[in-house]
Symmetry: C2
Subunit: 288 residues, 2 copies
């Protein structure tokens, strides 16, 4: 096979991937080639434009590090992450709605006992999080593992600080036998996604702001259930209608409640006034 | 805008890029989003598959260096580079056909006088290259700049050696007033594209070999003409029908001629038997 032109090259590349080592790799390769070529035929890039695209992808990869994932930002800001999320979690079964993982999840976050201050004493408005984990039948999921992470009042995550800074505003809890969990931390702020790299340049050229509304990330896992990856968005936050990564759903927007000193709704002592986020999570039974 | 699902997210992202800073950026962004989402809806990746895709792109970027361009290999092996080439150089005007630039072009290659040995004395079968540069009206293009680069007899380019190795098998010549150029070097070999990175893994999973037929790269530039980026493929080489980057065209396949000691067809003295590559190049007038 040779003498390829605009009209015959796509079939030639499809033929070349027809002997892939698995049907799934063949299916993905074939689809990728067709849609990539359709995009190119539609856009008709000049050679300089295609070189700029190659350079963009190269710089995006090279911006990635242990604490920065620029290709996740690229996927998030093009709506690809939310589309993959929607395909995998169509909802409708009564479980808590899902949203993007985002680039700031860290495996192996520190474990905390229930009630601990996962901000490790950082300055900021104090926040009490009280949650509950149930299944779609309304039964509590005792012992569920809850990963929580969020930004500081300036909109930065721990991993955006110096490389040797400790992890904070990030922790793993285990629900009690009734499926309840609680911890203390500080109120997060809206923030721009990291925009000093290629994705920031893309947003600027696309005439878009880089902001996300204030939110707390939750990843909740338990044996026999689909792992839930979601956020709770603060209802007073700006950008709820223009989240740069398209992650907001009405069911995930929740008000903070101002509590006076005393006892919280979950029965925990409060020494001074504090903001409360109280949200109940519902997990789907594991598929297949 | 919120509450995005599989059915409404594409329009939402399209709306978000509608205020791009230029009509071209809007057009490219809009098309990219539509085709990326169509690919995802068709393939329906699991979250693990999409994470593997993000990881592949990240590793592809991180494999790139001053002398390795893994994203060009990705574009080349998916036929995207040849498609962009075909879109930009539809041919049919009598000019020499074009093919991919490839990842081994280096700006600022050493300049050589006509007749020099651009291999810098490397071991290998000696090759005399004699060429001529004309326009589509058959007029010589005196003074045209000719960049030439090729692999060694083991299939490696200079830049694939140690970082401090000198550039060789690579040079810039200037045609004489009659449009003629000539130089000496060694006969290149077929070779696998660099396959110790993500693109090599992709080819393996796709059940493809990584080879290119033996060829010499030419980039020929002159004021008032479209720069010609092409190869001359050696007609005795394997892989002419299965070039991993889809670059072969019949008009670019050319035999080497065995010359005895004496005088070459171009009138140059030959001290010992040598292989001759004699090819005449035709440039198109610059567009617009």
């Amino acid at each position: 096979m040779k003498n390829f032109n605009e009209h015959n090259i796509t079939a030639a590349v499809q033929a070349r991937v027809a002997n892939a080592t698995s049907p799934r790799i063949r299916e993905i390769s074939d689809s990728l080639v067709r849609h990539l070529h359709t995009f190119l035929r539609e856009v008709r890039p000049t050679e300089a434009e295609w070189a700029a695209g190659i350079d963009f992808l190269t710089r995006t990869g090279q911006m990635c590090s242990a604490t920065r994932q620029e290709f996740i930002l690229f996927s998030d800001t093009l709506g690809a992450s939310m589309l993959v999320d929607a395909i995998n979690h169509p909802g409708g079964d009564g479980a808590t709605e899902t949203t993007v993982l985002g680039p700031f999840y860290v495996q192996g976050a520190p474990e905390f006992p229930l009630g601990a201050d996962i901000s490790e004493g950082l300055a900021g408005d104090r926040l009490l999080i009280e949650g509950n984990v149930k299944n779609t039948a309304g039964e509590p999921i005792g012992g569920a593992t809850i990963d929580i992470w969020h930004s500081d009042p300036d909109g930065y995550y721990d991993v955006q600080g110096p490389a040797d800074a400790p992890l904070n505003m990030r922790g793993r809890l285990h629900a009690d036998a009734a499926g309840n969990f609680w911890c203390r931390t500080i109120v997060p702020a809206p923030y721009p996604i990291p925009n000093d790299g290629p994705v920031g340049q893309m947003l600027e050229h696309q005439g878009r702001h880089p902001y996300r509304p204030a939110h707390v990330h939750f990843m909740i896992a338990a044996d026999g259930y689909e792992t839930l990856t979601t956020h709770v968005f603060l209802s007073h936050s700006p950008y709820l209608d223009s989240d740069v990564v398209f992650g907001v759903k009405d069911s995930l927007i929740h008000p903070l409640e101002k509590l006076p000193a005393g006892t919280s709704p979950g029965g925990h002592p409060i020494n001074q006034p504090i903001d409360l986020m109280r949200y109940n999570f519902v997990l789907s039974k594991q598929r297949k």
